[in-house]
Structures are given as C-alpha cells and as structure tokens.
Symmetry: C5
Subunit: 356 residues, 5 copies
C-alpha cells in the first residue's frame, strides 16, 4: 500500500492521460484473448498477438469480449485505446491500480473499475487486483493486472453447450462479469468471518498478548473491504435505476439482483464489525478482571498471614512477665491461635465470595 | 449462519436462475395447499398433489392463495414458476434462504421476501424462517421453508363465517399476510425484552462471569433483528406511497398501518439497545468498583496490623536497658497500646467513609 | 410498559379494526362532553349521555368539540366512529394506547395521536397518557384515557368573554389543542432538568452507590421523551408546510410556531443529554481517582512502617556481639532512628505531592 | 437558564400573542432610537419618546432604522406592533428571550431572531442577549434586551461621511446588521479557544482536581454555541438561496459571504471540540498512569525491605545452634547481606525500567 | 492559527470589501507574472511591473494566466480588481488567508479558493498557503501568499513543445491548476501516513511518555486536513455536475477525474483515522496491562516472603518449651521449610501462568 501511494504522488504534475503504469508489475507477459459468439458458430476463444487482428473477417462476431492480462505494456494499451476510441482518462484509470471502484459513463461505452480478491491466493493473503471493464454496445473489454481465475466460471458457462448466456447480447455478458466480481467478495468475507470466529474463541478463552492487535487488524480489514464494496453498491444502484442504453430492460432486472448482493455483503460486514467491537469490550474487561484477581490474591495472602505474624511478634517480645511463655503447651496454643485466625479469615473470604 | 454463507459462496459462478436450494432442508415432504374464495361458495382449502390441478374447473376461484411448504423440490418449484410465469431471479431468491427482506416489482406481480420467527419454537431459539410472497392480481403465492403456524390466524379468519376478509380481493389478503409477518416480530421483541430484564436484574445484583458476553450476545441479536425489520419498513413505506396497481386505495391505508408497526418495532429495539448499553456501563463500572473495594480491604488490614507489628518489634529488640520490660504490667501495656492504635485507625477509616 | 407490549402481541392475528382496548383501563366511567360555539350564543358545554343527541337541534353549533374520557367502552367508540365515519384503523389506533405520535390524513379529517404527561401527577411520575385528536372541517374529536387537566386552559379561554378563540373556526381550536399538548412537554423537561441538576450536585460532591443507575435511568427517560417529541416535530413540520385544506393560511403561521417549540424542546433534551454524558465521565473518573487514593494510602503506610520494622528486626537479632545493645541509650537511639526515617519519608511524600 | 425555562412553562396555556415578557428584565428604561437616511440630508439619529412621532414629516426618511432597547414595556411593543402591522407571534417571539435563532417570512417583512454575546461583558461571562430584527421594504426594526455595543460599528459607519452604506437601501443595512451579529461570534470563539489553550497547558502539565469538570463545562459551552450558530447558518443559507423580495441580487452576494462566515465558525467549533476530546483522553490516561506509578512505588518499597526483614527474622530465631551468631562479625555480615539484596533489587528494577 | 483568528475578530465591524490583508505577510515583494499562449507564437512568460501593461498589444494572447505572489500590496490588488471587474467580496476573500475552500460563481468568472501545502517545505511543517483562482472566459488569475513551487509543473508542461495543454483553452488550464492543487494533498497524506507508521511502531514496541499526545496531534491534523479536502470535493462535485459555461463538456470529464481524486484522498484520511483510533486503544490497554504486571510482581514477592517470615516469627517466640529449638539441625530444618514453601509458591504461580 505505501509503495503505491508513493508512486501516486510521484506522478503529481504529469498531464492526465500520460500512460504510466502505477502499481506493482504482477505479470511478465501481457496477453490478449478474444472470446467471440452470438452467431450460429458457437463460441470462439483465440489469443490475439496483435490488436489489429481484431478487425479481420474471422474475428467479426456479434459479441466480442477482449480480455487483457498485464497492464505495463503501454504500447498495447495505447493501441487498444485507439481501436476502441477510449478516453485518455479511462486508459489512465486502467493503469493506475489503486482506483476506487466506480462507474464512468462516456458516450460510446461505460467504464467500470473494481478491486477483487483473487480466490486462488492463500487464505491469509488479502491482496486485491484491479479489474477494469469497458462495456460497449457490441464489445466488452476486461483489463486485469495478472492472470487470475476470476472470470473462469464465465468462460466455462460460455463453452457449455446449452447455456443461455450465448443467446444473450453484450449486456448480459457484462452482467455476468459484474456478478462474478461481486460473488468473489462473499468468499473473502467468509475468510474474515472465520478469522473473527477464531479470535472470538481465543478471547473468550485465554487471550494471548496480540489479541488486541489482531482485533484491530481485522477491524481495519473490514473497513477497507467496506470501502471497496460501498462504491460498488452505488455503481449497481445507478446502473439499475438509470435508463442506460447499454443495458436492456430484462438485464436491468439482473443488475438489481447484483445490487441486492452488495447490500447483503455490506450487512455481513456490519455484523462482523459488531462482533469485533463486542470482542474488544470483552477483552478489555478481561484485563480489568485480571487486575482485580491479582489484587484479591494479594489481599487474601496478606490478610491471612498478618494476624499470625502479629501473634509471633507478641510472643517474641522480651517482657519478663508474660503469660503462657512458661507453660509447656504455650507454643502449641499460639500455633493453634494463628491457625484459627487464618481459618477464620478464609471462612470470611469464602462467605464474601472473594475466593469464588 | 456460517453454513449458509459457505453454501452461498459455493454457488459463486453458477448462472442466475439455477434452481439450487441454499440453506438447511427443514422439512422432508413439500406440500402445496390451495385456499380459494371470493364467490358465493365460501372458502375452500385443498391439498394439491399436482400443480396442474390448479387449472381444473373446481379450482377456479376469484381469489386463489397457494401456500408451499418446503423448498428443496426443484421440479415442483420449476412447475410453479412456469405456471405463474415467475422470473428466474424470483425462483432463485425463493430458494436462497438467507435473503435480506425486500420487495421487487415485476410486470405481473410483486415479490416480497422476509425472515420471520416461528412462534411455535422454544423461547430461547431465535432462528428465522424465510417467507416469500408473490402478489398477483388474482393470486397469492406463499413459500415457506417448513410447516409453521405463521399464517394460521389468517386461515382461521378466512374460515370464520362473518369475517370481512372474504369479501375483499387479493390485495387485502396480501395485506393480512404482511400484517401477520410484522406482528410476529412483536412476539420476538418481547422475548428479547424479557432477556434484557433478566440481565438487568443480574447486573444490578451480583453479576456472574458471563454477564458481559450475554449482554453482547443480546446486542448482536438486537442489531440482527434491526437488519431484518429495517428493510421491511422500507418495503412498507414504498408499498404505501407508490401508486402500485396491486393495491387498491383502501388497502393502501392498511399498509400505512403496517408501516407504523414497523416504526414502532424499530423504536422498541432502539429502547432495548439503550438499556443494554447502560447495563454495559454499569457492569464495567462495577468491576472497577470491586477493584476499589479490594484495595481498600488490603489498605485497612495493612494499616491496622502494621503499627501493632511495630510495637511487637520494638519490644522484641534485645537492648539491655529498655523501659517496661521488667515491669509486671509491661506486656499488658504493650497489648493495650496495640489495640488502641488499631481502634484509632478503625475510627479514622470509619470517619473517612472507607468502611462504607 | 411490559404489560402493554404483551397485550399488543396477544392481539397478533386479529383483523384490523377489531375494537379491542389495549392498555390499562385508567378510568371507570367513560364520559362525552360537547363544547359548541361559533354563533352569537357564546359557548355551550354539555355532557352527552347518548351520542345520538349530537344531531339534535340544540347541539347544532358551527364549531363542535367532542371530548371523550375513557377508551374501554367499545360500544361508545363504535357509535362515535359510525357517526363521524371514522376509518376502522383510526378507531384501532385510538384504542391502542401505546401509539407512536403521528398524523394520518384521511379524506374528511386528519387524525393526530400523541403521548402527553399529565401535569396533575406527582413530580416523580413520568407516565404518559395517549391523546387522539380528529380534526374535521366543522368538528374536533379528542379522546383521552382518563380525566386530566391537559385541555383545561383551552376551556377556560373559551369561557372567557373576550377571547379571540371564539371568533375563529375549527382549525384555530385544533391549533390551540396541539399547542397545549406541546407546551405540556416543557413542564416535563423542567422536571427532568431538575433531576439532572440534583444528580450533578451529588456526583460533583460525594456520589452514592446508585448514582450511575440514576444517570442511566435519566438518560433512558430523555431518549424516551425524544422519541415522543421527534415524531411530533415531524407532524408539525408536515402540517405547516403541506397545503392541507383543514388549516387556513393564517392558522398555518401558528402551526409554524408550534413547530419552533418542538425544535426548542429537542434542543433542551440534547442539552440535558450532553450534561448527563459529562456527568457519567466525571463519575467514572471519580471511581478511578478513588482507587488511586486508596493505593496511595497503602503505599504511604507501608513505606512509613517498613523501615522502622526493619530497625526493630535488626536489633532483635540474636548475634552475640552487636553494637549499641549494651549501651543504656541504645534503645532510645533506635527509636529516634525509626522516627527520623518515618519523618523523612513523610517529608518526601509531602514534596512529591502524594499527600495532597 | 432554569429561571427562564420555568417562566416558559408558566406561560403554558396562555393564548398566543399574549404580550408577556419572558426572561430577565435587563434594563430599567426602554428607549427607542430612529436612524434615518437615504436622501440628500445625510444621516439623522433621534430618540423617539413616542412611537407616533415616527409618522411626522421630519422623520420621513427613505430608510428608517428603529432600534428598541428593553422588552418589558408591553404598551410600547404593542404600539410598535400596531404601527408596523407585526403578527402577534412575532411580538411574542420578540418578548420570549430564549428563542432559538430562526427566520420567519411574513407577507410584508422578514423576522430574524438570534442570540448574541455582548462584547462589552467580562471575558468569563458567556451570557447571551436576544436580538430580533424585522426587515421591511423601507424600514428595519431591531429589538434588544438592553443597551449593548453590538450595533455601534454600524452606526459609526453610517455617520462616516464617505461610507457606501448610506447610498444603499434597506436590504444592505439588514445585511450589515446580520454581518455584525455573526462577527460577534468570532470574538466569543476566540475566548473559548483561549480557555481551551489554558486547559491544554494545565492538563499536559500538572492537572488539578477540577480539570475534568472544566473540560466538560467547555464542551457544553461549545455545543451550546453550536446550537446558536447552526440555525443561523440555515437562516443565511435560506436567505441567500431563496429569491426573497427583501434582498436585491447584489446584496444576496453579501449574504453568501455571511453564510461562509457561519460555516467557518462551525468548523472552528468542531476544531475546538476535537481538541477537548483529545484532552479528556489524555487526562483520563494520566489518572491511570498515576495509579500505575503508585503501585510501582509500593512494589519497589516492599520488594526492597522484605528480603532484609526476612534476614533479621532468621537471625532472630531462638535456635540454640545457629551459625554466625557467636562470630564477632556475624552482625556485620548480616547487615551486608541485607544491603546487598536491597541493592541487587534496585539494580534489577533499574534494568527493567521500573524506576524510569 | 490563534494570531490569524485574532486578526479576523479585529476586523469585525469593518465594511465588507475593505482591502485589509489578514494573516502573516509571507513575502516581501509582490510580483505579477503573465503567461500567455493560444496562438501560433507558442508560450510567453513575462513579469508585469505595472498591471496596465496587460492591455498593451504584445500581451494580447488568447489565453492569459496572471499569477500574483504576495497579498499585502493593497494598491496592486485594487488595480487588478478594477481591471478584471472583481467583486469587493472576492478581493476580501483573496486577502483573508484563512478562507475555507469554496467556489463562488459570479456572472463573469468563477472564484475558487483553497489551502495547499507547499511541497518545498520541510517534512514536519504542515503549514498551508492559500491559493485563489479566478477563472474567466479568456483569463485565469492565481493569487498566492508567497512564491512556492505549486504551479511549477504546469509551467513546465506549457513550456514543453509538444504538450496538449497549449492547444486547449482557458478551461483546460483551470483544470490543470486545480488538478495540481489536489495532487499536492497526496504528498501531505503520505507524510502523515509515515508519521502514523512511526507511531504504530513505537506504540507496539515500548511506548514513550508522549505517545498519546502525538496520536492526538496526528488525529487533529487529520481532521484539519479533512476539513480542507471535504469542501474541495464539494467544489469539484458542483463544477463537474453543473452546466457551468466556464468549462466545456470535454474538460468536465477531467473535472470528474479530480473529483475522484478528492474522494480517494478522503478515504485515505479515513483509513489513517481508523489506524490511529486502533493505536489509541492499544496504547491505553498497554497502560492497564502494566498496572496488572506491577500488581502481580507485588503479589508474587509478598506471597513468597510472607510464609518464610512467619516461620522466622514462630521460631523467634520466647516460649520456654518449643520443639526443634535445641536440636542442632533445627535451624537448618527451619531454613529448608522456608525455602520449600517459597519454591512451592513459585511452582503454583508458574502453573497459574502468573509469571508468564
């Protein structure tokens, strides 16, 4: 995160539209894949070594989905930008990989950008990749930082013979992509939820030193996630309500469904946040309780030994005439007195519930 | 809850409208019941083993209410979906039993989904069932996860000879169903309120170990409930205000009444939350107070025994010439001195209110 | 409160408009009083044993105000409902005495319901009565749970010869009633304010055990009051802004004045809440401070006696050859040493401000 | 404050427009001053013993500003009300000196009421005076509780020969008056800011007993001030936006400037509130820290003396055969042992940073 | 800050438009630089000793950007105000250097004011300079308190031969200036973020005394920054949405980009605030933990020495007949007993995890 921010400030003063890639380079080799369908020939998937091949006869499909992995090849992006007439700001946003999720409407296309969690990463890695989607009337462009499995389910559904997605237009593909994006968040929230459950178990049991830090780290991750999903919800809300020409009436119903999902995600986050703040309270209280128990232990010990010590002190005085000293049972009487007082104290503590 | 969420994520990537039941299977045998009325023949209740029987002559009532228990029979739901021309997303939502309450308007029907508490469950069980209601012009469909008594009062009112509900149309039945849903929340809030009262009694008395956890569990339950009722309030608000064709002007007045009930519910929740956060404060303070009392006990004990111990120490020194040692009353004088100092200390503490 | 809620849930499932009185029965005998004026004859006040007498010649006044005490007589309310064509939901709301304040517009009348504090009750009783007002074009109905002095000032102003209220229409009477309702809250806030002042005095002085509970009880009362006044403010705001046919332009200016009063009330509540949360902070801090003082006392006592005890211990050892033991002044030297160390410690504490 | 509130409730039940002065009587003698200008004759300032003199030939100025000091003379106010056709509610609000700042539009004038701090009062006195301004097309009325210097700068600017204010109409004078009102708040915020700075210095140094109370008193004053300025901001916002006929387009630009000032004031208040809540945290933490230091002192003292005491105890035992007792250096060896243990403990504490 | 505020109040009562410079004088010599371009001749930069030179033939460029350093020369500002027909309030705002960021629309120009951080200052200096921008149809005025490098990147882009900025009109220059302003905040947030990281390291390690103060100082700086950026966001939002005639449709897309940046800035601030409040919690908890450890140390020491002391006391009593006293191994038995008890205690503590 700090690295990215520094890069962002290092770009201050550059003109907009300067195609400078901001962020880690996550893949060595950019690749462009065309997926075309919509006519009788089924679905075609093809690597495009050169962007100009797009306009050849054989690639002329009714629906064309161009997926680009890797963002650091400025020449490639510039070529794509020219071919699809993308605004310099769109290209800049695609390259700048710490974009806030948003939707920008242009005359000939919609530009959607979001941050997704890669499901193929290990469970403790919460890094995000930026995904940009350009939705045109008869084309979809998707830009990813690296090769991930995010859109794999869509490709499989396209390949499957009977799936309805093939009979639909560009807007339905756009919906399917967006739906996949949002669904990926459910997976990440589950992971966070598992971590919260682990933490709960620890704190209700014997909390270790770092429990507080863990709770705060989780809390920050939750609010980070919230800042990713909240604008997505707004994107969906505006897509669903506005009479955008890029989505048919039927598809707009599906967008409403995605919108519901984002609301659901936000509520789950809220729920986890409630859990965490409750856990924090319980943890802090357990610290106070331990102080309490320490002090009690000290009090009990002190109170039990002090009277006995006083007795020994009394019989240790050097007065010439003291009772009991010469008696053969004096010593044992004194010991009995000490023990009785100690037992009395114990009984008192027991009754006042100080020893639990 | 965790199980459901996992199921939800396992569905990621599936096309929408795939009829996969998400959630526990709560009943073994799905059943379909038709309740018809609205003409001169009174009310008819009939089990429908086959959905196609709906279109037979004998089931042709002006108002038809179809109640379905059990959601895991995909074939049945698919048949119902085809018969009433339900959108695939509606069917998906019906099956996905952790839906957030909402209302979706379609051309030929309204789809309402809510989570209700089953009154027949034991008082400590706060599990919810999902209820879906499809409101058409001349039919009502209700989908429940299992057989519960939720809609029983409506059926009894329909069966009763004189009840006005029979003379009304489909919209009034829809209102009655929604009203029953919302009323069920009053019952659950009472239960939570009772638990809060119990907790209050405990915390103001002698709080046990788990009081804090209990308070937080209640707090989470309250905010969970709030997240169920809040969208219901919005549903009611939009139903009442919008000029929906599914509700007559007269019935819309009744919807306003339900809306008032949801507001009332939310205020009761707010009230309970206030109570709980006050209790938390009092509990945490009582912990601090106990530390205080422990320290005080320690101080009192120490302060009372130390001077006496010093006296014994002084007369235990081995100096050859010390006053009193040879006096026959020396010992008793020393004891008297110790007792006096201790009593003096006690009096001092008493005056400074340290002994309560 | 719990009793009412239980009653509310026990009504779940009943059809709307069922005239079941929910809440305590607060008066034994319902009574109906007609106050008529608006023509040359001045003001007439008359008990109506039978509601049908309303339509007799002698009761035909331009402005008719019907006040009903006692809500448990279903027959009476039903008769009134029929006579004035009140909607079943209005009657239900009148009877259900834990209504949230609100205004409902119907074609022929406005229905306003509010909760008021009875000024004639003792100062520590914060129970509320529900008052319903139905505002028609030429009649006003007021429903109260029991005989209170709430509307007495209005009656006195009506009886007074010169008062302007007589020359005005129904809307001005409605305004006067609403104004009286809102004014009654000022009295209750004063009482709460007095209680807050008492609590402040206690907490800044020597807080007793229950101060925290008192503070939280007050806080809850404040937020309860807020939930009563807040919707009233909205009622006033909507009455004043909307072009309701029930209020003339001139009277609407007066409604704006009531609205200002509700805003003022809410600000006073806010002010009291600020005061209370400050008091809570101060109280909790005073508990911490007391722990601090206890520990300090313990430290001072321990530190003053321990060195002296060590000295006695040293001279109590049984070594054969020890200095001073045989000296006649040895004992006094030892005592002096002890006293000196203790005084030194005292001086040290004094300088480090540990003894205040 | 309590006195005023009691007076307010004592007015409950009175008809609106009853000219009862609510609040302290702050000046003994009401006075009326007319300031007229707008024609070739410059500016005239004149005491008006009788309100009817206003309509004499010599007082017929294009712009007339009538300033009234003292509000308890009902006859005078009634005469002014009649002369300028003021609504009874306006007169009531003028007299009721705990009004919330607001603006009310009437057909022939605007009524603005605000609370200002008198700059001539001592710096620790935060009492406010109510100022009412009635803005007509060709007259301005200002009502003040007592003679203050609030509007003196305006008078001086009017008297100055070259000032632009004389060439402007009534609306510009109204703007100037409002601007002066708002500017007076800057002065009071500076005072509060100074007090906050003093408190910060105290709390970061050696906080005295009452620091917490002081902080809360300041916090309440800030929120009180916020409740005075916030509605003023709304007044300014509505004045500037709405196409009120009382302000020309040019003057409306100036109102926008006042609006900016109110926003600025609110941000300064917010800033001070942030400072205060940070100070509260630091103060409460310093209390905890002191407990910590006390306990540490106790621990250090106990730990240093206990081992030594044990040594003395050991050699004080009465066993017949004990090593060292008969040795001539035994005593000194024992002392050395005690001192060594104590020094060792000290070193240990030092290394574990327990002695700072 | 206090100095400025005092100056602000000292201006109370002055007429608006009085050209009094409020704030520090930060530069000794004001200077005016004209940058002109837009025709075939490329870009011209020229110092203007006299403002009237602007209208000479040679300075007649299609786009003219006038940059003024230093605000205390009233004559210069007055001349510029007259030349460009600036409203007195604009001039006043330019001079008053603690303006809140805002945008004011006038008939012939837009006035934008903002606070920027000078990147050339040392990293620990968070002082801001006020920058005012007047955007006309064919001119841009920028007013700065002193010579800073803020706009240097723009000048360099203008000088560069191939840059697109030269081919664009006045609105694009305005956009570039605003973009530079907003970008400067990224730099400052990075600095604050670094400081937060340092603080985190300290608090998670061994927090020093002033950590709490540092955290609160950072918190206040964050909210100060938030109050600077928030209104800028609103400025950008209104510029982008409203159909202002000063910006073409194409440039408005770029304004949307700046708006996105401000949102991004605010989210980063939010993130830092979350981090800080987590750190505060952790710090305060560490204080509690230290109390806990102190008390534990005391308890351990006391508990280990008290039993041993009791043993010495017992054998120090002067009873004639006591067991062991005469035995040659008695002393060693006693010592062994003491050591055993101490070791037993240690073992007990170890098992109960009191010694970690």
């Amino acid at each position: 995160m700090p690295r990215k921010k520094k890069l962002r400030s290092s770009k201050a003063g550059l003109p907009p539209g300067a195609l400078v890639h901001i962020g880690e380079v996550k893949t060595s080799l950019p690749s462009v894949t065309l997926t075309g369908y919509g006519d009788a020939n089924g679905v075609t998937e093809r690597e495009l070594p050169d962007i100009s091949m797009l306009d050849s006869e054989e690639n002329n499909f009714p629906v064309r989905w161009l997926n680009i992995y890797g963002l650091h090849d400025a020449a490639l992006l510039s070529a794509i930008g020219k071919r699809f007439d993308l605004h310099p700001l769109v290209l800049e946003d695609i390259l700048n990989t710490d974009q806030r999720p948003k939707i920008d409407a242009y005359a000939d296309y919609l530009y959607v950008v979001a941050q997704v969690y890669d499901p193929s990463r290990p469970r403790t890695d919460f890094a995000t990749d930026q995904i940009s989607i350009v939705i045109g009337h008869d084309f979809i462009l998707t830009f990813q930082e690296q090769k991930t499995g995010t859109f794999e389910p869509i490709r499989q559904r396209l390949r499957a013979e009977k799936n309805a997605i093939r009979k639909q237009g560009c807007d339905y593909l756009a919906y399917a992509l967006l739906d996949t994006l949002v669904d990926s968040y459910f997976r990440i929230i589950e992971r966070l939820s598992d971590q919260c459950d682990d933490l709960e178990e620890e704190i209700l049991g014997v909390p270790k030193r770092g429990a507080l830090q863990k709770a705060h780290a989780l809390k920050r991750q939750l609010s980070h996630l919230r800042r990713l999903i909240w604008p997505l919800q707004e994107v969906m809300s505006s897509l669903q309500r506005n009479q955008s020409e890029f989505f048919g009436n039927e598809t707009r119903l599906y967008l409403r469904d995605i919108y519901d999902h984002t609301v659901h995600l936000l509520e789950q986050l809220e729920d986890l946040r409630d859990l965490l703040s409750g856990l924090l309270d319980i943890y802090l209280n357990s610290v106070s309780n331990r102080v309490n128990m320490e002090v009690r232990a000290l009090t009990v010990v002190t109170t039990m030994f002090m009277p006995a010590a006083l007795v020994t002190g009394i019989f240790g005085m050097n007065f010439r005439s003291m009772p009991l000293l010469d008696s053969p049972t004096g010593f044992w009487l004194a010991l009995t007195a000490m023990a009785s007082v100690a037992l009395l104290m114990l009984a008192l503590f027991w009754r006042r519930r100080l020893l639990r």
